[in-house]
């Protein structure tokens, strides 16, 4: 299976990346090179295999479970520090282009 230039445009839009035409062409070639080695995974019989999202669930015998922390505020307010690397800030708010006319 090969990707088409249309796939690249569609995915670039989903991924919020602006690609120049020559960049699109190079991207298409390289990704298709990669999918050349991906095809072998489709031939593997994985009937009944539970997908492994995470190594922790493969640590049999370790009895380790993923956990959620209590839903309480634990971090101090560091607004100024958190905003010091932002490109545009005004009165403690992150500025973005106008979204609603």
């Amino acid at each position: 299976m090969s990707l088409t230039p249309q796939d690249i445009s569609r995915i670039a839009n989903l991924a919020r990346l602006e690609l120049q035409p020559e960049e699109q062409a190079r991207m298409l070639n390289k990704i298709n090179d990669f999918f050349g080695i991906v095809e072998q995974i489709r031939a593997v019989d994985t009937t009944g295999v539970v997908p492994m999202a995470h190594p922790v669930d493969a640590m049999q015998g370790a009895h380790i479970e993923l956990r959620l922390r209590p839903d309480v505020a634990s971090e101090p307010n560091q607004r100024d520090l958190n905003q010091r690397s932002a490109p545009a800030v005004e009165r403690g708010l992150f500025l973005v282009p106008k979204v609603i006319e």
Binding site: L17, K30, F34, V38, Q40, S85, P87
Partner: protein, 491 residues
């Protein structure tokens, strides 16, 4: 006393604690070496910050409140966020970024009044952009050169860490390993590095590439040093990292002296096939003979899905990356494009300008395999094979205690060699990817030299939480060999 920059972490800690040398003297000696930035290993150096930390260390030593590694210098890979140094993850999109906090690993190694080991930070070291690469050529701030031959790559993605330690610019460095990014540069630069079991070291403050794979670990010259550093870095961080393992802290130095008599070393036949360069194989075979002479037994095993680890990894890691890197949008931190028409165009132009080619490629690949119609065929199928790969290891560990083989199929290649062929870099990750996918601990130990006098690393893989065993094997090997003490010409 040995020259300061030739001393190991253990030796420096000892000299500092017995007041043979001060932390300021040690820091000054290393700052003199990092001046001019040899090998382009560093991305941020600030002698004032380093010397202030060293003075604080000297005060703690004088007051008798020193941490375990008080005053010993370390360099941090630039994917760990730091309050006192800039953090870029090797990317233009984070240029000038200053984190409001230190990553847990940085904190655990740092000032002892915050519960750390008391190490002094020499600054931040170069890496592939967002840790995506196997040669450190994907850094937005230029490639790092290999101290053994400056026309060659240092490996990646922790290439700055490996080059800094090999060139004696730092006695130790932190690294991160997603698909081999500690083990492979350690191998290419002739140093020792360990990636612990997934979940051992906190990921809090480690800029995420692929969250189900990313793991921090130490890089230094000896297994003894790695054990000291790993003991300080690991530990449960239950409130801040949902995948942090709830297991007690461990002293990884405790078993270094154990005998290897009766140790069963699994030799996976898939790691010794025709893809393995003859010079690497010769060095690995000799190392295995040394271990046999210490009483270990070699056991043939099979990891039949080794080759499949490449497509499986390069589906899963980009899928996770495409999600993790969505936070870089020009709003909250870092770079923002100058010209745009609306919010979406600001996102698109910011990301187009801020990300390098390999990062864009992985975001695209990831978004594709997660997209409607392809999710089951690629992403879910890869996760199923990931399970089979993890199961293969458990079958192997029924017959052996540790697994040994090469870290990489060849020694370090020439800079620019794979520039037009990213797939060649992917294929060279074949021996490190399986343990990464399973979440197992793995390490690289220098075992000699191959073609053109370039270092060769042997990989040791252990079962979950068996880091102490790996460090024990590596330490016993280093007691009987001298490759870890070899240094590049002119260093």
């Amino acid at each position: 006393m040995t020259t300061l920059h030739d001393m190991s972490v253990a030796q420096l800690a000892q000299a500092l604690q017995t007041k043979q040398v001060s932390a300021v003297e040690v820091a000054t000696a290393f700052l003199a070496r990092t001046g001019g930035n040899p090998h382009n290993a560093f991305l941020d150096i600030d002698s004032e910050v380093t010397l202030a930390q060293a003075q604080a260390s000297d005060a703690r030593i004088a007051a008798g409140t020193a941490g375990a590694l008080e005053g010993v210098p370390i360099a941090h890979k630039d994917v760990f966020v730091t309050r006192d140094f800039a953090t870029t993850a090797g990317s233009k999109i984070l240029s000038g970024y200053r984190s409001p906090f230190d990553a847990t690993v940085v904190q655990k190694l740092g000032a002892s009044e915050l519960g750390g080991a008391g190490m002094v930070s020499l600054g931040k070291v170069n890496c592939d952009e967002f840790a995506m690469g196997s040669a450190n050529e994907n850094s937005a701030y230029g490639a790092v050169t290999n101290p053994w031959d400056t026309s060659r790559v240092p490996g990646g993605s922790s290439g700055g860490s490996a080059a800094a330690v090999a060139a004696r610019l730092a006695p130790a460095a932190t690294g991160t390993d997603t698909g081999g990014s500690i083990r492979q540069p350690a191998s290419f630069c002739g140093i020792t590095g360990i990636k612990p079991t997934y979940g051992r070291a906190s990921r809090y403050g480690m800029i995420a590439y692929a969250s189900s794979l990313d793991q921090a670990g130490p890089m230094a010259r000896t297994a003894e040093d790695c054990a000291l550093l790993l003991s300080a870095m690991c530990g449960a961080d239950l409130d801040r990292d949902s995948t942090s393992l709830d297991v007690p802290a461990e002293n990884f130095s405790a078993k270094l002296g154990d005998s290897l008599a009766g140790l069963r070393i699994g030799i996976p036949k898939e790691f010794f096939g025709e893809g393995l360069a003859a010079d690497v194989r010769t060095a690995i075979d000799a190392a295995l003979k040394t271990l046999e002479a210490e009483g270990a037994k070699l056991v043939p095993i099979t990891l039949p899905r080794t080759e499949l680890a490449i497509p499986v990894y390069y589906i899963i890691a980009p899928a996770e990356a495409s999600s993790n890197l969505s936070r870089f949008d020009g709003v909250k931190f870092g770079h923002r494009a100058k010209d745009y028409t609306d919010l979406v165009s600001m996102y698109k132009k910011t990301r187009a300008e801020g990300f390098g080619e390999e990062v864009k490629r992985r975001i695209m690949t990831g978004a594709y395999v997660l997209s409607h119609g392809y999710y089951d065929a690629y992403y879910l199928q890869a996760q199923k094979i990931r399970r089979m790969i993890a199961d293969d290891f458990q079958r192997a560990f029924a017959e052996c205690d540790v697994i040994a083989g090469p870290v990489a199929p060849t020694v370090a290649w020439k800079l620019g060699n794979n520039a037009s062929d990213p797939l060649a870099d992917y294929l060279a990750d074949i021996f490190t990817l399986p343990a990464s996918l399973a979440g197992l601990p793995g390490m690289s130990v220098p075992v000699g030299f191959g073609a053109d006098n370039m270092p060769v690393g042997m990989q040791l893989i252990g079962n979950y939480l068996q880091e102490a065993r790996l460090l024990n094997v590596a330490h016993q090997y280093q007691l009987h060999t001298d490759f870890h003490n070899a240094k590049p010409e002119g260093v």
